[in-house]
Amino acid sequence: MSVNANGHAETADAHAHGHADHGGAHHELPFWQKYIFSQDHKVIGIQYAVTALVFLFFGFTLMMLMRWQLAYPGRAMPFIGSLLTNGMPGGVMQPEFYNQLGAMHGTIMVFLGIVPLAVGGFGNYVMPLQIGAPDMAFPKLNMFSYWVFLPGGVVMLSSFLVEGGAAQSGWTSYPPLSDIATKGQTVWLLAMVLLITSSLLGSINFIVTIVQMRAKGLTMWRLPFFVWAQFVTSFLLLLAFPPLEAASVLQLMDRVAGTSFFLPSGLVISGEVLKVAGGGNPLLWQHLFWFLAHPEVYVLILPALGIVAEVLANNIRKPLWGYRLLVYATIFLGFMSFVVWAHHMFMTGMGTTMSTFFQTTTMIISIPSVIILTCFLISLYGANIRFTTPMLFAVAFLPMFAIGGLTGLPLGLTASDIYLHDTFYVIGHFHYVVAPGTIFAMFAGIYYWYPKATGRKMNDTLGRIHFWVSFVAINGVFMPMFFQGMAGLSRRLYDPTVYAHGRGVQPLNVVISWSVWLLALGQLPFIWNFFSSIRGGVKVSINPWDSTTLEWAAPSPPPHGNFLTDPVVYRDPYEYSVPGKATDFSPQFVEG
């Protein structure tokens, strides 16, 4: 019988299928139940992760196309241009197509890439193992989450095929522009409703699982930091997504049912008075959107911080410094993330009182981020640092996340935001948080947990090539953007050379674009490594990194039901290099 910390029999019973009665792996499921409509959190986690990686690469590909236009505006793209006859007649990108690529790049990366990878993938796979649970609290709900997410993603991508192409009003979809946009926007909204529903279902499942299904002895203060990060993230998803779901439905009504939630009276679109009731307010959408989308930023970054914490602790061979401080900072970050949203809207005509409130909360939220980063940095002192492949990504994460965080300051302060708002400086800032930040952490996580999921290690040489090329290239992509932003260059410009201040920084666009293409090349060793190691990787023991947390007590790969015997937790999560012990790691699950 599976055990949980609180002894809630119902929850445990719900899980009795397949591991208590049938002793784990012996229960043979037909193929479609085992791999397609699976209720096993690990299979679902891998489904999420692989789907999200494919979407991430697709979203990245869109950006590679846009980058041609930005580096060489109006020039026909060789070869690829001739394939995309709709968006690029004669190989020259059209502004409509550019805007579609931009909107879809943002949407795909955030909602189809990083969130499903960080939460659906890593959260699903690792969290139940780390808390010693046989599965998620609601396995069917878990399966359902994935099968709502996947159609959402497919619907989103299919919007490229509808008349007028995909959504083209930015990933933020500000009305009235989005209200009057082509049909692709309707598809975008429908897809968003599916994606949000999927995240909501997942978040409830995560919260219940973490609260109810921890192994015996695993108190909240003994949870690995990754689990804490997923816990806070789930609350953010649960509380922040409903407003956007509502807002999406309202915008859908504006588009298909003739309502005017976001449309004021008297709009004149290309010389014609728009025949709608009017009386709505376009800023309402921005408030609803950013009420989600700011907590969303922390949904993107918290799981990444969790992964970095795990990989760091494992490779510094000592306990993380300030574990409780990290947890308190994370919870505080979660709370504060709900009261900073309007810092995205300083230029909408906000008065002094409102702007002072929101820039104050924004400065306050920077403090827990500084604390988290400081805890990680102090942890390095007195360590015994192993530069394994996952560790390289985790180490590189720290300074690049710091750049992302620091450059948030001049944007969060209203006075400097007057100049920097909506420039490339913003693009540089948030990409440093989510690309060299979150995505590097994701890579660290993939290299780190791959042996658990497959029983084999990914190739180290390829991993190092992947790391160094990515590290150099990604900074070549985002660092120049700060200078473009400083020069005043607006974001989302199909042709920046229309402006004199754009022509001044145009050489940087060439540097950025070539860095993007180099970055793409740098992913090839990863892709090869990822797939070839499934069969060709070096076989490793169940705890190849000499780690301390519970997931390393399970076989690799863990069977349905996870643990052969119910794990019991005896100590804190990161007991490395305990004096007087024979080894430099004392796992949570080993007594004495």
Binding site: P95, T352, M363, L406, I418, H501
Partner: protein
């Protein structure tokens, strides 16, 4: 217009209020650089000093990191200073103390896909009423033909002339979608929200020819929603207004005039066929 004024950092600031903004940007960046370099030196040092090697072991006991507490406290104090010492007062001074309308040049900016309509009130100093139903090909801003205040209004497209050393209030609005009224060299940025009229002011301290940009995605022509600002002497400004005043006593604005000064066309590579109509 001289391309050379634009480089890899902030372009020249020709506004009277922009000094505070630039100063803040500069202070924040020095602060960021200091933190980053400080952290960076420590970071590289620990990575080298505490790398795994034969005979080296990790320290189990947590280090007493009182120094980091001072740094964190220092960050908090300095951020508070940035906030309450610089940003909030600079913003408040700029937003709460606009010049009096009576002492300023008043201009209405009516944004549309993808142009800036610039309206001067004319000799009477009063703007004519505008309404959506009057919008037509020869009346882009929808001036009411029956309103006497509008008879002498001067309407320009993508061209803002302002006198130097005199406060200017641009009241921005939009006919269709959200745009953002952005003049980098004047440190001016304001979203134009349909349904709202929002005043933004500046006072130029140098003459010259600069750029207006749209900072908010407004559709397929967003990238070319570019305008020119011509900051000139009061005499030249008066001359500009006189030359562009409507000749006939009708409310008809002069058809979007050719710019008073030659505006260099940017080297946009092969003319792209672009459908101007936004989709419904």
């Amino acid at each position: 217009m001289d391309d050379k004024i634009y480089g890899y950092w902030l372009p020249v600031d020709v506004s009277k209020h922009g000094g505070g903004i630039d100063g803040l940007i500069s202070v924040v960046h020095w602060f960021m650089l200091l933190l980053f370099v400080g952290w960076g030196i420590y970071f590289i040092w620990v990575l080298m000093k505490f790398r795994a090697r034969p005979g080296h072991t990790a320290l189990y006991q947590p280090v007493k990191a009182s120094f980091s507490k001072y740094i964190e406290a220092g960050v908090v104090v300095f951020e508070a200073f940035l906030l309450f010492g610089l940003s909030a007062p600079i913003w408040a001074k700029y937003k709460n103390d606009p010049p009096k309308e009576s002492e300023a040049v008043n201009v209405r900016i009516i944004a549309e896909q993808f142009a800036w309509n610039v309206v001067y009130p004319g000799k009477d100093g009063k703007f004519g009423r505008t309404a959506p139903e009057f919008v037509a090909a020869d009346n882009l801003i929808g001036l009411d033909p029956n309103d006497p205040d509008g008879k002498d209004d001067v309407v320009m497209v993508n061209q803002l002339h302002v006198p130097v050393n005199k406060p200017v209030i641009t009241t921005v609005s939009s006919k269709d979608v959200i745009h953002s009224w952005n003049i980098p060299v004047l440190r001016v940025k304001q979203d134009t929200i349909p349904g709202a009229r929002i005043p933004v002011w500046f006072e130029a301290k140098e003459t010259g020819h600069f750029e207006i940009a749209c900072a908010q995605l407004c559709g397929l022509g967003h990238y070319r929603m570019r305008g020119d600002v011509i900051i000139e002497s009061q005499a030249d400004f008066d001359k500009f207004l006189a030359e562009n005043a409507p000749a006939a006593p009708t409310a008809q604005a002069p058809a979007p005039t050719a710019p008073a000064q030659p505006v260099p066309t940017p080297p946009v590579a092969p003319e792209k066929k672009v459908t101007e109509t936004p989709h419904h």
